[in-house]
Symmetry: C3
Subunit: 345 residues, 3 copies
């Protein structure tokens, strides 16, 4: 872990920001406006929070030109077009994650014909199968299990205890968090007089570049073709991606989403947590699904979609539930009244 201190001028240049104030101010951390202290840089994401500028103890604030006038004179400013994005960009400079030294730990076990690029790190007790290809700069954490014929692209990183089944391909700069399992069998079977006959899963998984995969997320291999995760997809923790699914480029999926098999999700979608996708459906590009939504059918138009119900006090909800369960009768009673009234008129 390097000493992470930067003069404000360095951050301004890093961000292409206009600096207003003391270019030599030393920035040691990032903090929210409300909890920042001297040596911190903060950011104003939305003008509606501008009152937080009055009391913040941050040494510098990243903000928009339009908000600069709200900042007390004694606080330095970095003026940018998108403060939240600028915060994201400098967050890498303050990352405290331990450094990984290249090298293959003596306890790592490599199969036959493994191709290992330069500056690769393979952690203790990892097991790498035959004919695996690890490109330059790949980091394999401790205790990973990588089966035969897996290909991992440049500068991708697997955290400890990731499992990759045979034949899976992962692109460049992937981040795969601990406990993720990629390439396990899809859930395929045929019924034979009440018993289930396994359908061997003959496809694999193809993952593009710049993909992040959260802890304990599972991505199943395809039945006949491959399960595909395109470039720039971001998957949170504990997501289930079924066999033959295709997740379009730059789509972000929040935690605990369950995606059944043979689902195609478009590019640039945003999927809220704990949502669920029925199998064999297709979702257009730029679709936003709010949390806990049940996506039962294909969605052909971009837009926001929902079916979650917010919590109510339990007794109210019981009362509403009784009405929901009798909705068909309610509708029929209404119809009956309508017939009477509109005949009368």
């Amino acid at each position: 872990m390097p000493k992470q201190e930067y003069p404000l001028a360095f951050l301004a240049e890093f961000l292409g920001a206009n600096l207003s104030g003391d270019s030599k101010a030393v920035i040691k951390s990032i903090a929210p406006l409300t909890s920042a202290s001297s040596g911190s840089i903060s950011f104003l994401e939305k003008t509606q929070y501008k009152d937080q500028l009055k009391t913040t103890e941050a040494s510098a604030v990243i903000l928009r030109e339009a908000d600069l006038s709200f900042l007390p004179k004694h606080i330095n400013a970095l003026v940018v077009a998108d403060p939240y994005l600028s915060y994201a960009k400098i967050s890498s400079l303050f990352n405290k994650s331990p450094n990984i030294d290249p090298g293959i730990h003596p306890t790592a076990i490599l199969g036959k014909n493994v191709i290992v690029g330069s500056n690769v790190s393979i952690g203790a007790y990892s097991v790498i199968g035959n004919k695996v290809q690890l490109a330059d700069g790949v980091v394999i954490g401790e205790g990973c299990a990588i089966s035969d014929d897996v290909v991992i692209g440049e500068n991708s990183r697997l955290y400890p205890r990731v499992v990759i089944y045979y034949g899976v391909k992962i692109g460049k700069r992937a981040l795969v968090h601990s406990g993720a399992v990629i390439g396990a069998d899809g859930f395929g079977m045929a019924n034979d007089k009440g018993k289930w006959e396994k359908i061997y899963q003959l496809g694999s998984v193809e993952i593009g570049d710049d993909v992040e995969i959260g802890a304990n997320t599972t991505i199943d291999r395809g039945a006949l073709k491959n399960t595909i995760i395109e470039d720039g997809v971001k998957l949170d923790n504990q997501i289930q991606v079924g066999h033959n699914d295709k997740i379009g480029a730059h789509t972000a999926i929040a935690g605990c989403v369950a995606i059944a098999g043979s689902v195609t999700i478009g590019k640039h979608c945003m999927i809220g947590g704990a949502s669920c996708f029925n199998g064999h459906i297709e979702i257009a590009d730029q679709v936003i699904i709010t949390g806990m939504t049940g996506v039962e059918n294909s969605i052909t138009q971009k837009g926001i979609y929902s079916s979650g119900i917010p919590a109510s006090p339990h007794l109210n909800w019981r009362r509403i539930l009784v009405r929901i369960m009798s909705l068909d009768q309610i509708a029929k009673r209404l119809q009956k009244l309508e017939k009477i009234i509109f005949k009368e008129e």
Copy 2:
């Protein structure tokens, strides 16, 4: 991985199918009708897709007698009663999963009094506790942790990084995918003036024959008696099976289903993904639960049950939600009208 090529006559005999066409045609892969190419065998699951037969490039198609007339003459056919089941059966012949050689890896650690059958494979860095019994043909993947007194039946396979707590019994021909945890403590506790007192989980887990358990699925040990998974049960990924649950034979459960404690699910049930079961309920045999259903009460009759709500455009859904939340008032207003109208009549 053997060279997986078969003359059509071999597949016909394997399936007990009637072959129509060139019995010497060499089949190298299985593919869907729409993406098959020369050397592939495909299958027509339902007559409704018969138009795909016209344009398929498959060398052979598995289909029903009744659909044979729709197949172009130049394509070979295997005529069977259930094409999807036949596809399942031959899928094993094209499985590309790496071969596992029997043998105990020198880094595997075995406790005292472990009984190891013939042709057992134990992967690198697996740790096996005391008095564990591994029957003939068992495969333990890399980095598994198996605690004391575990029994695993013939030809069962654990993929890498499976954890089995002490005393768990697994039958024959099980497939347990990576990241699965079997036998962790059930979630039991008693409240002691606001603090939780742990209830030690004194039961175990008993798993029958021919069970498949998906990646990162968890099956908790029982509190006083055992959690039971009967023969032929198929569990997809990321399912939670609570303590004291009993899952009946040949029931299939899709991904991300949450089953609270002390639930009994019958035989031959099919449970859709992301469904949720309340504790202490009983589900009859042959019940089908569609995806994202909340099973709050016991179900005594076979049949299909649901409570999922499909996604709508967000603004429509907001409007509907407002109405749902005022359903009790709507019903009362309706009642009021009814009183007026039916008195008037």
Copy 3:
């Protein structure tokens, strides 16, 4: 595993119970009233089950003073104020979990400047980073991966294959089950013209004393501040705790709950399984959420809250769904009738 047999007098003293009957009766196991046999102790949780006392074969029953008269004379009794709590307390005496011997397994790998207390056990193939502190009595199961600067308090236990990212702090007497991942990156990113820019997660995770964490549960590190789990929190399996979340002391959360980021949950809450929390909300103390509820907004009052819908027969539910989807029109039709009727009157 010790021989777990106790004279009833010992259990009475352990619980502070009044013994009625044979103080020398030997108790070898705990069992429910309906399946108990000679040598078992059972308990009557609620008076409504008192008929089970007539036929139980238990050698002793833990019950309330008020229920003592329902117990056949030949069965011994331990009279307590809260039989279920007493059952919890003695469950530890019958725990069959294998003994863990202190000691560092020769295959365990320790980084630099690791502080190891007395009576610490570190299992085979565990990897411990630099500057880790393991207090007295800590147990690290097989194949755990613990990164730099992690601190684990006295008598805490990690089951096999737990992963702890750098800088995480865990209190005393924690139980962390297999597959749990603590401190992985929160799901933070900013959109840059359609692509996602990662927000490095600079916070950590702080876990209090007496916390239990279920199998395959994930707790993400904070973005700028820490994710906090307070004392006495009990988390079941497959729960997702997002970045910056704070779970108040003695709150219990059942399996498969998804908690988005920046959520504060109060103390002494009980959260039902498969519930889902929207980000950036605050839940008061002593809130009870029933299973499968979508908590979209802050809850400021203690009480019970719900939004789950129980399963119905599928065709009924389809009919109800049609009505739900037209609820807005139903409400408008009702309004129209009201206008007509109430003008007429």
